[in-house]
């Protein structure tokens, strides 16, 4: 009897430790689609003996909605954009990284070490940064593209051939730049004018699509497309005769960041993964794949040399300022929601 009991206890203990070991060996990532090379995940997996599982989302808002609807506690890390880091921190969805937890934190480039959206990098590390503007098919149009008129008041040959991102933040921020008004404007006349301008501009647009923003340009379904810089570079490399524009009115700058999620089931592995991505060689692999920019120092030697000269990363002198998307307060945001609904009704 005693022997049996002993064996059972030993077996249960074994099962328990085995279970714990398996839990230790896992990392669950919630990431954008098409944004990390599989080889890099494999390297991490092999180096640390961790099984990597990844789910994807297609917008910052979809990420927030899914976490708020109950997915928090399932994932260890996610990759929200700048303004969404601020929103998620405000919603209490992020865990704090204690001082000294990240061995490689010193690799963060000084200009990204203390950003306005996450002071002191309490919850996040840089992933990639870049810009959002638009690309134009040069077979369809050879004129000047350094103006937001291409999107909102296009020449006749581009009318009806424009794809916009299906994202309120990016469309309305670009529209504010076009009109020269502040992003979270509360001025009634400005907001009415913005609403009217968008109604008029929409008559020139063919579609709203984010997932296929690159494909519609490569296939020729659209001649103009609102797009991220790296996506435009990839489209160009896939053979589309497209040029990425830096309008004189300005363009959107963004930074995606790896955040430590609250209640991460594998917090230790999440920290390991963040440290892994803070190594210049590893984040350079992401940059080479996604064609954006890393926010670390010492990345240069690992980068594909064509990246330094790619037109999508080098704004001309005529370019306006790059601006982050701003977070509006509730009352203001509700007006912008209304404008967006009016646009799509």
């Amino acid at each position: 009897m005693k022997t049996i009991l002993k064996t059972t206890v030993a077996a249960s203990a074994l099962a328990l430790t085995a279970g714990a070991a398996m839990a230790e060996g896992k990392l669950v990532i919630y990431h954008w689609f098409e944004y990390i090379p599989q080889e890099l995940l494999d390297t991490f997996s092999a180096e640390y003996g961790v099984e990597v599982v990844m789910d994807t989302y297609d917008s910052n808002e979809a990420l927030l909605a899914s976490l708020k609807a109950g997915a928090i506690g399932t994932y260890d890390v996610a990759v929200p954009g700048d303004y969404m880091v601020q929103i998620m921190a405000g919603e209490g969805l992020l865990d704090t990284i204690a001082d000294g937890e990240l061995a490689n934190k010193g690799n963060i480039a000084p200009e990204w070490a203390d950003p306005s959206f996450d002071p002191g990098r309490a919850h996040s590390i840089p992933y990639q940064w870049g810009s959002t503007s638009f690309a134009v098919n040069r077979d369809a149009y050879s004129g000047d593209i350094g103006t937001t008129d291409i999107l909102f008041n296009p020449p006749a040959e581009l009318s009806g051939k424009i794809n916009m991102l299906d994202s309120q933040g990016e469309v309305l921020a670009m529209a504010a730049l076009h009109m020269g008004i502040p992003q979270c404007s509360t001025d009634r006349d400005q907001l009415k004018a913005l609403n009217d301008m968008l109604q008029e501009a929409k008559t020139h647009w063919a579609s709203f699509n984010s997932d296929t923003a690159k494909e519609v340009l490569v296939s020729g379904d659209a001649a103009v497309g609102q797009i991220y810089d790296g996506f435009a570079a990839k489209g160009r490399e896939e053979g589309a005769n497209i040029e990425y524009a830096f309008p004189s009115q300005g363009y959107i700058v963004w930074m995606d960041n790896v955040v430590l999620l609250k209640d991460a089931p594998n917090r230790d592995n999440a920290i390991k993964f963040m440290d892994f991505l803070l190594e210049p060689e590893n984040i350079a692999a992401v940059t080479n794949y996604a064609r954006y920019n890393a926010g670390l120092t010492g990345v240069g030697t690992f980068l594909d040399p064509t990246l330094a000269t790619q037109p999508e990363s080098n704004p001309p002198a005529s370019a306006g300022a790059g601006v982050f998307i701003e977070v509006c307060d509730q009352a203001t945001q509700e007006v912008y929601d209304q404008i967006w609904t009016n646009l799509k009704k």
Partner: protein
């Protein structure tokens, strides 16, 4: 024979009366947990206060329904007028779904009739062929449809090479593309119930009518169609209802320029608006409409039976 069967049945039901409750329990639990519980959550959420950026605050509010029916201007402080935006979105969705249903019926009925009139051994093969494309995910099928229809796609290339058209038709990003997408997505839901009905139809009735000098059109209209009507109604409901809430076809084929009911609701939960009570209210209004529609159909068919 028939009488003996009926008696046997009633004896069995006596014997198993007590067991029946137990045997039905899994069905009731499934229905309750998977259908009624989510619906109740939606119903409750639609009467709660919205939380900024998604979520609900547990305070009773009619705000969501107010937003649906009343327009208070861009800044929410004008005297209320009737809000046409959402009614318009619902109307457009009904119209699209209706067009897709009629299209499915026009193609689906002859297809089903054709299959049901093949020799018995061939029928299974034809039904199998109809269902093959549906082994593929709906998203993939919708994207494929876009590849077929686009300006540089095989449809336009084909028509241009045989000289029927000189310019691409420009179907993608129009309502027509959405209707074609919905039609293609749900066609088997039309074919299969009609096929089942036509297969049970006694073709001797058609022959008898012809013997009595009924023209072919009259045979179809006055004998075949009334006999297979339950199948047609089932098919129409099965195509219309999912089309009404669909958002893949409008997004991918229609260019997402205008909200449909499905994409409007999706935006409330997944998009920037993050207005869960409003999304729930729009869902409840949609559900009510569909229920009324089904009840009208049910009453109609009961009246005809009587």
């Amino acid at each position: 024979m028939a009488g003996g069967g009926a008696t046997g049945g009633s004896v069995q039901s006596e014997t198993y009366r007590e067991a029946r409750t137990l045997l039905l329990l899994p069905a009731w639990v499934t229905l309750g947990l998977l259908t009624l519980a989510p619906l109740m959550i939606m119903l409750i959420y639609s009467f709660l206060t919205k939380e900024f950026r998604g979520g609900v605050i547990w305070e009773f509010s009619l705000e969501a329904y107010d937003q649906f029916f009343f327009d208070r201007g861009l800044f929410g402080d004008e005297p209320p007028k009737i809000e046409w935006t959402y009614i318009g979105i619902f109307w457009r969705s009904i119209w699209q779904a209706g067009a897709a249903t009629i299209l499915s019926l026009l193609i689906g009925f002859p297809t089903a009739y054709f299959i049901a009139t093949r020799p018995e051994r061939q029928r299974a093969l034809w039904v199998f062929l109809v269902t093959i494309p549906y082994w593929v995910n709906l998203l993939i099928r919708t994207v494929s449809m876009k590849f077929l229809l686009r300006d540089e796609g095989p449809l336009n290339d084909g028509l241009m090479s045989i000289g029927l058209i000189s310019e691409p038709l420009g179907i993608v990003n129009t309502n027509l593309a959405v209707q074609l997408g919905l039609f293609y997505s749900y066609l088997p839901f039309m074919v299969l119930p009609i096929y089942a009905a036509v297969e049970r139809y006694n073709f001797a009735l058609s022959e008898a009518a012809s013997d009595l000098y009924a023209p072919r059109w009259a045979v179809l209209r006055r004998i075949v169609i009334p006999s297979v009507k339950p199948g047609i109604i089932a098919g129409c409901i099965l195509v219309f209802v999912p089309s009404l809430g669909s958002f893949l076809a409008p997004d991918l084929l229609g260019g997402a320029k205008t909200f449909m009911i499905g994409s409007l609701i999706e935006e409330q939960f997944k998009g920037n608006a993050g207005n869960w009570p409003f999304g729930a209210a729009a869902s409840m209004i949609l559900l009510t409409m569909v229920l009324i529609l089904l009840m009208v159909f049910a009453r109609q068919s009961r009246k005809e039976e009587a």
